[in-house]
Symmetry: C2
DNA sequence: CTTGCCTATGCAACAAGTTGCATAGCAGGA
DNA sequence: TCCTGCTATGCAACTTGTTGCATAGGCAAG
């Protein structure tokens, strides 16, 4: 179950409560793994029982107390083992593609609005990623490794930062690909007739 | 549940048995939706009970008899309704990205072999898609709509074919994007040091 | 002072997906 | 004849993921 490992990674990057994790899963972690708060609370409880996480009650003023989770030594070991296992191929789920092929048995043009809506969502996501990249990785148009303050001046590069950036670049590449493909799909939908 | 709709689409394109569907889900349908035979048999049974599918016992020689499913009128209506509903955003699951960010707390370079393996799988998948495109859509290097035998000569374009091709082009674009991104990831892994 | 919103945690029921196993006919090769 | 492999269908148990709801304190606006 990769959700457990996503939680381990996130808590290693920074300890936090279930609520905070849920919000991270709407932001940076959510770029490559999604989970709702119910799922997170359930898994946190199990991982704590298994000894992979430590908990600490943190009283807060002005808001309810929280349980701050952090990764135990055993949790770190477990993550290390998982990292060395091969990944089995991801299962694909592209609902829009199912609809596209289904549209042949209905009115293909009726899908145009929906495809445009998806394209807008991907454009928004791309803008969001690019803004995050400018903010966190100080890149302009063309990335130049030497201008990166963390790698310049003979400093050892921060592996975590470099890897986070590489993952973000993957998200950016994905959104760009989707936007271009949806342009292609829209052209196709407009070219073909109004179906059966 | 989109598996039901993927099955409706597949059976509309061509009726078949659960076994045949399972094999299609390893091939063309599998480009955008995956399912195992257990899942398929279970859902077929439910859809038949709901009246969305018709069954026909087909005796065969040299092999066991099969049940051939086809879409009922009600099933076609149900698909049409689904097509007009908006899709909720896909949930993302990129296990490799989780590992990449986790690698910062282990040895990043240990992931190189795994990333290379994934890149090979994506190259194989791309080759497979391109071969399918050449076979089924008779394209060479640059697609030219006028040279398409089905659209040439004033013939009305086959919407199903056009849409299948558009979906396939999406798969091709995805694999090309992944191959390029994994090159980027490999360069990053090789650049950064051997971790903690 | 009531209403809505944010933080914070959680249960229960259900739907979907995975894993392991079982059955059975037939074909072809060792 | 036995073993392997392909076609063909299915059950049972389990894990994951989703949806709806419940609770509770504090803050700010109206």
């Amino acid at each position: 179950m990769a959700l457990e490992h996503a939680i381990l990674v996130s808590l290693l990057e920074k300890p936090g409560s279930g609520y905070e994790l849920a919000r991270r899963f709407e932001r940076s972690i959510g770029y490559f793994w999604t989970a709702t708060h119910q799922q997170i609370y359930r898994v946190l409880k199990r991982m704590e029982a298994d000894g992979r996480l430590d908990v600490r009650e943190v009283p807060q003023q002005g808001r309810p107390d929280k349980k701050e989770y952090s990764v135990s030594a055993y949790g770190l070991t477990a993550l290390g083992e998982w990292l060395h296992e091969p990944i089995q191929p991801e299962s694909v789920r592209h609902e829009l593609a199912v609809k596209l092929r289904g549209a042949a048995f209905d009115d293909p043009r009726a899908l145009i609005g929906e495809v445009e809506r998806h394209q807008r969502m991907h454009r928004d996501q791309l803008d969001h990623y690019l803004a995050g990249e400018r903010r966190d990785f100080a890149v302009s148009d063309s990335r130049t490794a030497v201008s990166d303050p963390l790698t310049a001046g003979g400093e050892p590069p921060d592996a975590g930062r470099e890897l986070q950036h590489a993952v973000l670049r993957g998200g950016i590449a994905y959104e760009r690909m989707m936007i271009a493909w949806l342009d292609d799909v829209l052209a196709t939908l407009r070219r073909i007739g109004p179906g059966r």
